[in-house]
Each structure stands twice: as C-alpha cells, then as structure tokens.
Amino acid sequence: METTEILNELNRIFNRVLKVENIILSDETTAQDVDGWTSLTNMILINEIEKQFNVRFTFRDIMKLKSVGDICSAIQNKMK
C-alpha cells in the first residue's frame, strides 16, 4: 500500500477516534502535535488501525512507534 493511501486512512481514523475535524497527518507528526493523542488514547487508535489494515502489532512494536511515519512503515512491513 502506498504511503499516501495509508496517511489518508490514518487521517480518517484519527478524526473518528479523537473526535477532531481538521487533523492533517504527515510523516513527522507526533503525539505532541495532535490534540488528544495521548498515552490514554494511543491504544484505542492502535486497535482501530489494526482493525482497518488487518494487521497485528506486538506490545514491543507499539512502544517503538513514535511518529506517524513510524506507523506507516510498521503497517507496510506487516502487510508484506
């Protein structure tokens, strides 16, 4: 899957879960940049992402995801 496609999907997921309208995600976006993306909501997001892309992350995988770019690469890796 292309990175831009993944980003679009992620955008939709973030909008839905965090209930915010105008997030624009890029490779460098981190939790600091997104209102409402905290350790509290992180796992809900991850769960939605796993459901959407039909992948499964381990706990250690999730801990390594620091930015949206990391998430994209991780999804692409898992989908191979």
Binding site: K19, T38, M43, I44, I46, N47, M63
Partner: protein, 479 residues
C-alpha cells in the same frame, strides 16, 4: 538523616570533599560509602534490606538477559518481578496483617507490645523496589543491557540524594551518567546550589509554616469547625507540594553538585487544566512509571475491548498508584478517584471543548485550574487521613458558612505566619511560571554581579530569619 540537619550537612560536605580530591576512579566508591552511611544511619536494617534487594536485582538482571528463549525469558522475568513485589508487599502489609491475625485469635495487644512487635517499614523501599522493577523490565524488553559493574549498579540503586523519596530513576537516564561521568562545570555547581536553596525555601518557608496548623486540624477532625476543615483541605495540596517539591529540588540540586542529573518530579502541577494533565506534572517519576509499566502494557493487552479496556487499565493502574502509597483502603480510594476522574475527562473531552468555546479561553482556563485543584485537594483527604470513614466524615462536615471569623478561617495561624506563607506561595508560583518561559537561572547568571549577589543575600536572609529549621521530617518519608 533529614536533608536539613547538621548530620546531613557534615555527610554532604565530606562526600563533596572526598569526591573532588580523590582520583576520579574512586568517585563511585565515595558515593557508595556515603550512601551506606546515609541509609545505615537510620537503622542498619534499612541498609541490609536495600543492599539485599539491590544485589538481587543485579543478578536478576543478568539472569533475565541471559535467558534467550522466550519461555525461559518470561519465566525468569516473572519470577524476578514476583520476588521483588512479594518482598515489598510483605513489608507493606506485614503490620496490618499481624493486627488482623492478633484480632482473629483474640489477642488485643497493648500499645507497648504492638509497637515492639511491629515491623519497621524499610526506608525508601517503595522507591527503590519500583526502580528495580523498571530496570528489570527494560532488560526484559531488550531496551537496556544489564549493568556489569556492580559498584555502579549499587550507586544507581542506593544513591543517597534520591534514596529517601525518589525520583525513581530510569536505567537509561542514570546508568550512562554513572558509567561515563563528565567533569563538572562551574555553571552546574551554581545551578545545583540554586536548586538546593529553592528547595529549602519551599520546604522551610512554605511547607513547614503550614504544617503545624494543618496537622492540628487533621489530627482532631471531630473537634474542628466546618470552616477549618474547608481551609485545611484547600491548603493541604500547597503544603505537600512545598514539602515534596522542596525535597525534590534539594535532591536534584545536591546530585547536580556531583555532576549527576536526576529526573524532575514536578512541572508546575497547579497549572494543570485536567487531572490527566495534572498527573503529567505531579510526582512525574512515579506517574510516568505507572504509565509506562502498568498502563501501557495493560491497555495494550486490553485494547480489543474498547472503552471497557481503557477503563479497566486506568482503574488497575491507579489502584496500583494508591497501593504504592499505603496499605489501607483509603489509599486505594485515593488512587481510584484519580482513575475515575481521568476516564470521565476522556469521555467528556468534546463537551469540554464546547464549554471552552462558549466561555472563552481565559475563563475556561481559570475554571479548569480551580476544578483540577479542588479534585486533587479532596482526593488528598483519602491520602492524608488514616481511614475511609475519616475521609468521608471530613467531606460531609466541610462547611461553606461565609460569616465566620477570620480567626477560624486562618486555622489558628498567627497573622505573621499567614503573611509569610502566602508570600512564599505567591513567589514560588511566580518563580515557576517564569521558569517555564525562560530559564531564570541563566538569566540570573547574565546579570551584573551586584544584582546576583543582592539576590543571593536576600534569599539567604529570608531563609535564615524565617525558615522553620526545627521541624525535620518530610511527608513522603513514610514511603
């Protein structure tokens, strides 16, 4: 020994002299020796326990790391953590359990025998046990390698500046500093001293001015008036903040004088807009610990259960926070309140945004700060009073009667003490606000000498003349 005692000053100065006069390779041994003296000074049993647990952790770390196959690794990790928690829980619950046991078999011990038979809760055990668990977990997750040098590891566990009440250090933060110490700079020395002085003012001029009055009210809640209960509840967060952040400042400052940077514990907690935010600013080394080692693994494991999973993770995490503080149901209540409020805040975040748009930023921020403060103040009652029933009684009896005398409102503090404590609080809040915008210490360093020295002298005079040197206990010492 309390940080504010002649004994400690002597110990610190001797350590400082030895540290910088001996060959650099002996520095870790100097710190180790001083830590042993510091811990053993209270009671040799505390030293034995701490050394024992540290040694065990050292070998557990190597055991976990050496187990390469997943099953063996899981097993060694679980056993190690289990033993650490087991020992800690044993100490934590030994006395309450013994009391229950005695009650069960019909023995009502007189106070003398019960004191003789009660087990001393080892000083600092909650802090270093949790630090040990963090160390082992990072090894288990293969984020860190076990420390090979035993003396460095022991300093990591027992360093006297952080032994009493934290901060709880992460292996990745403190161990590298111990392995590759950098030569100290003049600025670090000055910064460390400035931190120590700040800590002393917070403790001696703020916390210790409030302590006698608040202790008086908390010690006799059934005879205090409703207004006094209200005032004590509102002021207790300030006292505990002055006490604990003062201690932390002194710990960080003292460590800085040896070239070590410890983790901060506080980040302007009373500026928090929500309880979730509050716990990112209050006792950070503990709250980040429970986030990283309890909440994240739990919420990850339960993530397929949506909101229920989040709630359960929060609940268990904050029960953990409560239990860390003490063995009674009141401590559990203290933790649970935080968890419930945070979950509620999560669920109502959109609603809060609407309120913010309706009220406008300044009013919303003010109300949020007040709300967060009040929630914390009420939850602290469960922390401070020794039983659930006392806390509930207290809350029920708070009165908002406005037409009471000033004497009741100021809970018996003399006018002079009120002025001192309020001024100290205002100054500390201003100081912390400014610190968040600019590094005040850097700014100070740039001022001409007479300005800097003028400020130093002013602080010293304030400390000398107004500081309550006679009290010598810290609230978080009991953990």
């Amino acid at each position: 020994m309390s940080f504010i005692s002649i004994n400690f000053i002597v110990l610190f100065i001797s350590t400082f002299i030895l540290f910088y006069t001996l060959n650099a390779k002996y520095r870790k041994y100097v710190l180790l020796l001083s830590s042993a003296v510091f811990i053993g000074f209270y009671h040799i049993g505390f030293l034995i326990t701490a050394v024992f647990i540290s040694l065990a952790t050292y070998y557990f770390g190597q055991w976990v790391d050496a187990s390469k196959r997943e099953k063996r690794r899981n097993c060694s990790f679980i056993v190690s953590i289990g033993i650490l928690i087991g020992v800690w829980l044993a100490f934590r619950y030994a006395n309450p359990l013994m009391e229950h046991f005695r009650a069960l078999i019909g023995l009502t011990a007189s106070t003398e025998t019960s004191h003789a038979n009660s087990i001393l809760f080892p000083l600092g055990i909650s802090f270093y046990t949790f630090q040990a668990m963090s160390y082992l977990t990072e090894i288990y997750w293969q984020e860190e390698k076990p420390e090979k040098d035993l003396s460095i590891f022991m300093v990591y566990m027992l360093f006297f500046m952080k032994f009493l009440s934290g901060p709880i250090e992460r292996p990745g933060e403190l161990l590298p500093q111990l392995r590759r110490p950098k030569p100290i700079s003049y600025n670090s020395l000055v910064y460390g001293t400035e931190l120590i002085v700040t800590g002393m003012i917070k403790k001696l001029v703020l916390a210790d001015y409030l302590a006698p009055y608040l202790d008086g009210i908390f010690g006799s809640i059934h005879s205090a008036s409703g207004v006094q209960l209200l005032m004590a509840c509102l002021l207790y967060p300030v006292e505990i903040y002055g006490d604990f952040s003062g201690y932390t400042d002194m710990a960080l400052g003292g460590a800085r004088l040896f070239g070590l940077q410890l983790a901060p514990n506080f980040n302007r907690p009373f500026a928090a807009l929500t309880t979730s935010d509050f716990w990112r600013r209050w006792h950070m080394s503990l709250s980040f610990w429970i986030r990283d080692y309890l909440y994240l693994p739990l919420s990850s494991a339960l993530r397929r259960h949506g909101q229920t999973g989040v709630f359960l993770s929060l609940f268990l995490t904050f029960v953990g926070l409560g239990v860390w503080h003490g063995a009674g149901w009141n401590y559990v209540a203290y933790g649970v309140i935080q968890g419930v409020v945070i979950f509620y805040e999560m669920k109502t975040s959109t609603f809060r945004k609407k309120v913010k748009n309706w009220l406008g930023n300044p009013i919303f921020i003010t109300l949020s700060i007040i709300r967060t403060y009040l929630i914390f103040a009420v939850s602290l009652l469960f922390f401070r009073l020794d039983s659930l029933s006392s806390a509930i009684y207290y809350i029920k009896n708070i009165s908002f009667q406005v037409n009471t005398s000033w004497k009741e409102l100021n809970i018996g503090m003399s006018d002079h003490n009120c002025i001192v404590a309020s001024s100290a609080l205002v100054l500390i809040l201003i100081y912390e606000y400014l610190m968040s915008k600019h590094n005040l210490f850097d700014l100070l360093a740039k001022q001409p000498t007479w300005v800097r020295w003028g400020i130093y002298y002013l602080l010293a005079i304030v400390l000398f003349s107004v500081g309550q040197f006679s009290s010598d206990s810290f609230i978080y010492l009991q953990f």
